[in-house]
């Protein structure tokens, strides 16, 4: 047991940090928010040169064959520098392609994703259903990747009283959602958005509803979307889109479900890492600010009320760091979900503290702090929000935690 980064991993973080510091990401973020992708594409190439998109790709596909720990190291740095773009989505798409039994799609798409010549986005599948009061939008059954459907309440409109499982027989994650909680049959969790689909070259989708018969899920390369179709996010740098149905069929069958579960864990872990980086940047910037800003003749940072909020942020972030790297080592669904909750809550708490301690300066779009403040809130929801991830933790089987 040696639960610390080794020298090589620390050096990788330092080199990414140096490169991103020199790149001056705030102006890149602002251009990206306006739909101007030139400088972001250039930065993307440099991130690819640093090996980020090749990390978890096997050497036979031109990758580095590293693991989730290195992925986390990289995404903490990307978060610290507020790098925009479908970063998480690209590594999750990579995981999806690598998880398929059929090597065809990976052989075709991975080389340019790994090299940074192309980018990917995808709609993350939900690991669990978020409890939803949304009306049923489809008469067909819904399904999540690693959670069997739950019994529907008899009073739900348009449902049968119980539903049987449509999950693939080989699914290994069979823990129910929340005990005592149900989802109306035919309802589905609100579909997530695809990030930056207007600039992503590869748009992967597993069109829902994911219907019976079991294991016939399809993976499509979705058609292009237009920039004008953008949905605004609380984080202006996150440009959200609904992927259109149809497109080119890439794969079908049970292999898609397994690969999508792998992609979900990868995307969720990378999002948690990005959130930790966002939190660390917010803390660092706030510490500098309160050391310089004087009121009542002394630095604001000498007041105990200020110190204690920052100490709490530090505590939350350091404990989140431990959960995050633990999840990278086990990649168990419950560990990854715990990392997502912990890192995102820590980042969000830090964001609230950062805003409060900056005062009105922090409450402006002009000031760079906003680039991290808005992201902290958005990442909390992305790739499975807190409630959904907590449900996964609670159903995490007989492990001791």
């Amino acid at each position: 047991m040696r639960f610390v980064l080794d020298a090589g991993q620390r050096a990788f973080a330092d080199s990414l940090d140096a490169m991103l510091t020199a790149a001056g990401t705030p102006s890149v973020v602002r251009e990206w928010s306006r739909g101007e992708h030139g400088s972001g594409r250039a930065l993307w190439s440099r991130i690819a040169e640093a090996g980020v998109f090749a990390l978890t790709v096997p050497e036979e596909y031109g990758g580095l064959g590293a693991g989730p720990v290195e992925l986390v190291v990289a995404f903490v740095e990307l978060g610290r520098h507020a790098v925009p773009g479908p970063l998480v989505e690209t590594v999750a798409a990579t995981a999806l392609l690598l998880g398929l039994d059929d090597p065809g799609p990976a052989e075709r798409l991975l080389p340019t994703l790994t090299s940074g010549e192309s980018t990917a986005t995808l709609v993350p599948q939900q690991a669990t259903f978020a409890p939803s009061r949304r009306p049923a939008r489809s008469p067909t059954a819904s399904r999540a990747w690693d959670v069997p459907p739950v019994a529907a309440p008899a009073e739900s409109p348009g449902t049968s009283s119980t539903r049987t499982s449509h999950r693939p027989a080989e699914s290994t994650h069979r823990t129910p959602l929340l005990e005592g909680q149900t989802l109306p049959a035919g309802a589905r969790a609100p579909g997530p958005y695809a990030l930056d689909a207007d600039m992503a070259d590869v748009r992967l989708t597993t069109p829902e509803p994911l219907t019976a018969p079991p294991g016939t899920t399809d993976l499509y390369l979705a058609p292009a979307v237009r920039a004008a179709e953008v949905h605004r996010s609380l984080d202006p740098a996150r440009r959200l889109f609904r992927l259109p149905p149809g497109g080119e069929l890439l794969a079908s069958g049970p292999q898609v479900a397994g690969a999508a579960a792998h992609a979900l864990a990868t995307g969720r872990l990378a999002t948690a890492a990005q959130a930790l980086g966002v939190g660390l940047a917010l803390l660092d910037r706030t510490v500098v600010h309160v050391g310089q800003r004087s009121q009542f003749g002394v630095p604001v940072g000498s007041f105990q009320a200020v110190k204690h909020r920052l100490a709490d942020a530090k505590i939350a972030l350091e404990f989140a760091r431990a959960v995050l790297f633990g999840a990278a080592l086990t990649m168990a669904a419950a560990d990854v979900a715990a990392a997502k909750v912990t890192a995102c809550e820590a980042a969000y708490t830090t964001a609230r503290t950062a805003l409060q301690l900056h005062g009105a300066i922090g409450y402006t779009a002009e000031y760079d702090l906003s680039l991290w403040l808005t992201k902290a809130r958005a990442l909390r929801t992305a790739w499975g929000g807190p409630r959904e991830c907590r449900a996964l933790v609670l159903s995490g089987g007989d492990r001791r935690w």
Binding site: P299, K307, R400
Partner: protein
């Protein structure tokens, strides 16, 4: 970076788990904050010690198994998972023993540690004073040089376990003329039954005498009970306090087991959705504390000094412990008011966490000033 234990550690885990399964009392012992419970827990310490399970990371010659810090963490996980009783020897084992191992003489270690390991001598902590809580540098109890030792006078308070313990350890002002308040302090061990010592138990919130006031009137302490050099008490106490103690004051195993019990309670109560998030957070918090401790232990074993990092630890576990017990009491519904449950006992115990061992306000100051580099200011 890995979380894998060695074959030796896994074998040790198995051995410890098997022994505990065969020996842990079938029903809970009475509260250790009562005379009856104290005696029962002392007997449990003796049973643990008989097969060298009471202090697994200590050197073998004092009753340990030399498992190292990782072995201790493994043992603690098994210990609490087995539902074993709270440790009456905790103060001595986690605070005094590491200090003696680092700064004591061989004679002191050979004399003090074995009876500590068996529970034959139970130690109380005597650091706080009426005017010196978290601000230990303002200690006023005096130690005055005399033939062959020191004459100690003054008042100590909030001494955990002192109502029933045998001996105590603490800091005393031996050089009132020292230029700075934390200089001129001497670290002493003394007998709670020595002439001149008066012990007045104090009831904690539930009335149980979990701590006591000590009135010291010219109590003789022989030279052999001075730890380290006279006048160096602060440095000696703090060096241990900041390092291993930061890891060993509360083991992750304790919270992992408690969170698991909470999850079972939640399910027994019909898995109410209202407690869903809090139960999940209790599970996540236990895991976070375990992993944070693994990381700190890994750094410590690589030679890093943990120092102020133990303040992160202390704030986290103390607040976590309360949240966990509050959730349990809420889940119990009407029964949550009953004082006759392990959850109630644990709740009352948890409430002290943010107050003792340096209040959480002081710990947050340490985090802010020493880890974040914020300017010092008026408290």
């Amino acid at each position: 970076m890995d979380l894998a234990f060695t074959e030796e550690e896994e074998a040790f885990r198995t051995e410890a788990g098997a022994w505990l399964a065969a020996h842990v009392p079938g029903s809970p012992l009475p509260s250790l904050e009562t005379a009856e419970g104290f005696a029962a827990h002392r007997a449990w310490e003796a049973e643990l010690a008989a097969e060298r399970w009471s202090v697994v990371n200590w050197p073998a010659r004092y009753g340990g198994r030399e498992t190292g810090l990782i072995g201790w963490l493994v043992f603690e996980e098994e210990y609490w998972a087995a539902g074993a009783p709270g440790r009456v020897g905790q103060n001595g084992i986690s605070l005094l023993a590491p200090t003696l191992l680092d700064h004591g003489t061989e004679e002191q270690r050979a004399r003090v540690l074995p009876p500590m390991a068996t529970g034959e001598v139970v130690w109380a902590q005597a650091w706080s004073e009426p005017e010196a809580g978290s601000d230990l540098a303002s200690l006023r109890s005096k130690a005055v040089r005399t033939d062959g030792g020191w004459r100690v006078s003054g008042q100590k308070t909030w001494s955990s376990r002192a109502a029933f313990a045998d001996r105590a350890f603490g800091l005393f002002r031996s050089d009132p003329g020292a230029p700075k308040p934390h200089q001129g302090l001497t670290y002493l061990m003394f007998d709670l039954r020595a002439p001149g010592v008066t012990v007045r138990p104090i009831g904690r919130l539930d009335g149980k005498p979990a701590f006591a006031e000590l009135f010291l009137d010219e109590v003789f302490v022989p030279d052999r009970d001075v730890i380290g050099e006279p006048g160096e008490g602060w440095r000696i106490a703090m060096s241990t306090a900041g390092n291993e103690r930061g890891l060993m004051l509360r083991s992750p195993g304790r919270f992992l087991a408690a969170a698991d019990r909470l999850r079972r309670l939640w399910r027994q109560q019909g898995s109410p959705p209202s407690a869903h998030d809090r139960v999940a957070d209790a599970l996540i918090g236990a895991r976070a504390y375990q992993l944070f401790t693994y990381a700190a232990a890994s750094r410590f074993l690589e030679g890093a000094s943990l120092g102020p990092e133990s303040s992160l630890n202390k704030v986290f576990w103390s607040e976590y412990d309360i949240a966990l017990h509050e959730t349990a009491l809420d889940l119990l519904g009407d029964e949550g008011e009953s004082a006759d449950s392990d959850w109630a006992e644990g709740y009352v115990f948890s409430l002290a966490g943010p107050i003792y061992a340096g209040t959480n306000e002081i710990q947050r100051d340490i985090v802010a000033e020493r880890l974040l580099g914020l300017p010092k200011g008026r408290r």
